[in-house]
């Protein structure tokens, strides 16, 4: 026999917005619906309800009941994001999902398996509670009954016998039209159990076509095929901040929450994050984007958070932040087998963090692997990010000619007296004196085809104290380095 489950997020629109407003935690909050002529309260949290605020009140009425009530507007982007979260979590139980309504996901459970209440809690409820969401679940033989059970779930309600569950429920649980409800009340019918004992044909004859649907729902609804949807594999979170953020703490709070949500979704599909992309949008316009490569793909929130934290600790901007976005690139978990004598990194995550700290200390152009540019210029190179997964070089027999020397960056200006064409005397801030010996010149030039030609005349010179590399360029003579 088929079974259906419904995952329901009550006060869905309010919860969708509250996910991005951590400062509202523990406060009375109400969602304001401004679609009609006058704004009205459409959803409210438990604290607001305790303060006697009611749905349908105007903002003035609500504030009169509760002066500290926080009134917020709905956000369709956040609602879509929360619906995706619900879909991805529901996929833990079955791939056959229907996005029945905002905040309600119907799941067709596999017929060959019976889910216990604790299993449903563990798979669907607890991951969402960890994300700070309130959800309920109902399991029954039809989608309509499962939805009704979800409304009464605490947090899970499994309906074994529909009459026993439905009988004592108030007729208003079926959400009939107001007019129909008042008629039924005038007949003295208060519970579903009282309605279903009435003959269907006569009820429909007296109350019209609306009563047919109501009677069907009162009998547990009918079996219908679901409109199947596939949850988007969308591992990103973004928000526009209500107030510009200038300090690190609120930003970190949101990023940690985002990471929790993204990693929960990754865990649901057995994937890990390979890269993280952080985008910060500024109040004065423009944005900042940074891609973090994760050395050992993971979905551990602490590790990922440390990476972001280390980077942001040293991040400064001229403008306050008004929006942020965090996205993860999912990959399958790495299943490599480590060798016994492997020379790999002991802890790639820690190493990545150390690299981030070094980059924060010195700048990203001063930490990495040197990459020599394809040029004959002796000091053309750039620093590229260090690859933690580079393999050990195979034994090479590259012939290395010449004693290496250390460079002066920038080169030290010098005055040179020539004897014929050979340097004979040197004046500079590093050394001054007659040259004992000189070898050269080595003539180098390049980039003449690009229009910014360079040429150099290089000499090795020996003073009383040391050996230097002397270079003559258009600007004059320079000490380029020292054999130290």
């Amino acid at each position: 026999m088929k079974k259906f489950a419904v995952l329901l997020a009550p006060e869905f629109r309010l919860q969708a917005v509250l996910r991005y407003l951590p400062e509202c935690a523990g406060q009375p909050v109400a969602l304001l619906e401004s679609g009609g002529s006058k704004p009205r309260i459409s959803e409210l949290n438990g604290k607001a309800r305790k303060s006697h605020v009611q749905i349908g009140m105007s903002p003035i009425q609500a504030l009169a009941r509760c002066a500290v009530l926080r009134l917020i507007q709905g956000n369709p982007k956040h609602e879509r994001s929360l619906q995706d979260v619900l879909l991805q979590t529901a996929e833990e139980l079955s791939p056959f999902l229907e996005s029945t309504a905002a905040g309600a996901i119907t799941i067709e459970l596999p017929g060959e398996r019976a889910f216990s209440e604790s299993e449903l809690r563990q798979k669907c409820i607890e991951p969402l509670i960890l994300l700070g969401l309130e959800v309920q679940m109902g399991v029954a033989a039809t989608p309509d009954l499962a939805l009704l059970a979800a409304r009464f779930g605490n947090p899970v309600r499994i309906v074994g016998s529909p009459p026993a569950f439905l009988g004592p429920l108030s007729i208003s649980a079926l959400q009939p039209p107001e007019e129909l409800l008042s008629v039924l009340h005038s007949w003295g019918i208060r519970t579903i159990g009282q309605l279903i004992v009435l003959p269907m044909a006569q009820v429909c004859e007296r109350l019209g076509p609306d009563a047919v649907g109501l009677w069907e729902r009162a009998n547990g609804g009918r079996l219908r095929p679901l409109k199947l949807v596939k949850p988007q594999e969308f591992f990103a979170e973004q928000t526009d901040l209500e107030h510009p953020v200038e300090t690190l703490e609120p930003l970190l709070f949101l990023l940690r929450r985002f990471l929790g949500q993204i990693t929960a979704r990754l865990a649901a599909v057995y994937l890990v994050a390979d890269k993280l992309r952080l985008v910060l949008r500024f109040e004065k316009g423009g944005s900042y984007q940074r891609v973090f490569t994760i050395p050992q793909p993971t979905r551990e929130v602490d590790l990922l958070f440390r990476m972001l934290h280390t980077h942001l600790e040293n991040f400064t901007s001229e403008s306050a932040i008004i929006g942020l976005e965090l996205a993860a690139k999912p990959v399958r978990p790495n299943a490599e087998q480590f060798g016994l004598l492997e020379e790999g990194l002991r802890d790639p995550h820690r190493f990545a963090e150390t690299l981030a700290r070094l980059q924060a200390l010195l700048g990203s152009d001063r930490v990495g692997s040197p990459e020599v540019e394809p040029s004959h210029h002796p000091d053309r190179f750039h620093v590229q990010p260090y690859e933690t997964d580079s393999t050990a070089p195979s034994a090479d027999n590259e012939l290395l000619i010449g004693v290496p020397w250390l460079r002066f960056r920038p080169p030290v200006q010098a005055n040179v007296i020539l004897n014929d064409v050979r340097p004979a005397f040197l004046y500079s801030s590093r050394c001054t004196g007659a040259l004992k010996d000189a070898r050269g010149p080595w003539l180098l030039d390049g980039d003449w085809w690009k229009g910014h030609r360079w040429n150099r005349e290089e000499w090795d010179v020996a003073t009383e104290e040391a050996l230097y590399r002397l270079v003559h360029v258009e600007e004059g003579w320079f000490l380029d380095g020292i054999y130290a």
Binding site: L362, D396, L400, V403, R407, A466
Partner: protein, 225 residues
């Protein structure tokens, strides 16, 4: 669900926590593959100072490049903390550059801060501090406690630290070598491998590890009594 690689990290961490001392065996030698250095015996997980100034010739830089090449060819990664942004990457084979983490500092203080992070990390077994071109006045201002902290960190994280310095300044170094050799201008453009034997390395000072010293005291005590 932890992946297999995560489990290996956890196991490594567990072993390191329980048997951390086993990683840093006293008086173990770090094998470089370079005969002059291996004869001198560089202590593993310790600070070694290699004194080479401009007046003593190009031996220090020659040794540095040979050491980088040998270590990387062994399959190791190396961190080079360049105290005066003086390293010339063209002097290293292209294949070796990818395994080298080059940290370009502008003064001794940046170098020390970077060294602290690199040694504390403990992922790369060889960290080299190149201070040859840093002004002597700047180097003299580094307190001895800084070197002592690096020594303790290197022991803890099993990292071998080599300090190329123009003057003897690392008081707590387990080994101090001075580099020399005659390299006239004629020799500067020869095959580098043939120049290595011309290097002269002199052991200026060698200190025993704490554990060894303790053992020695244990042996001496009954004799004194």
């Amino acid at each position: 669900m932890a992946s297999s690689s995560e489990k290996v990290f956890q196991l490594r961490q567990l072993l390191a926590d329980r048997f951390g001392h086993a990683e840093t065996q006293a008086d173990e030698i770090y094998r470089t593959g370079l005969i002059p250095l291996d004869e001198a015996g560089i202590p593993r997980s310790s600070l070694t100072e290699i004194v080479s100034s401009a007046t003593s010739g190009p031996g220090g830089t020659l040794l540095l490049f040979a050491l980088l090449h040998a270590a990387i060819q062994k399959g190791e990664r190396v961190i080079l903390i360049d105290g005066k942004d003086a390293f010339s990457p063209k002097g290293l084979p292209a294949a070796d550059r990818k395994r080298l983490l080059w940290i370009r500092c502008h003064d001794a203080w940046e170098t020390i801060k970077a060294a602290d992070l690199a040694v504390r990390d403990g992922n790369v077994p060889l960290v080299i501090l190149l201070l040859t071109l840093n002004p002597v006045t700047e180097l003299r201002r580094i307190p001895a406690t800084v070197w002592h902290r690096l020594q303790v960190l290197s022991e803890k994280s099993a990292v071998t630290v080599l300090v190329f310095s123009p003057l003897a300044q690392v008081g707590c170094a387990r080994l101090r070598l001075s580099v020399g050799g005659a390299f006239p201008l004629d020799k500067l453009h020869q095959n580098r491998a043939r120049l290595i034997p011309d290097l002269t390395l002199r052991v200026e000072r060698r200190r025993m590890s704490h554990e060894r010293r303790w053992e020695d005291e244990e042996i001496r005590r009954p004799a004194c009594a």
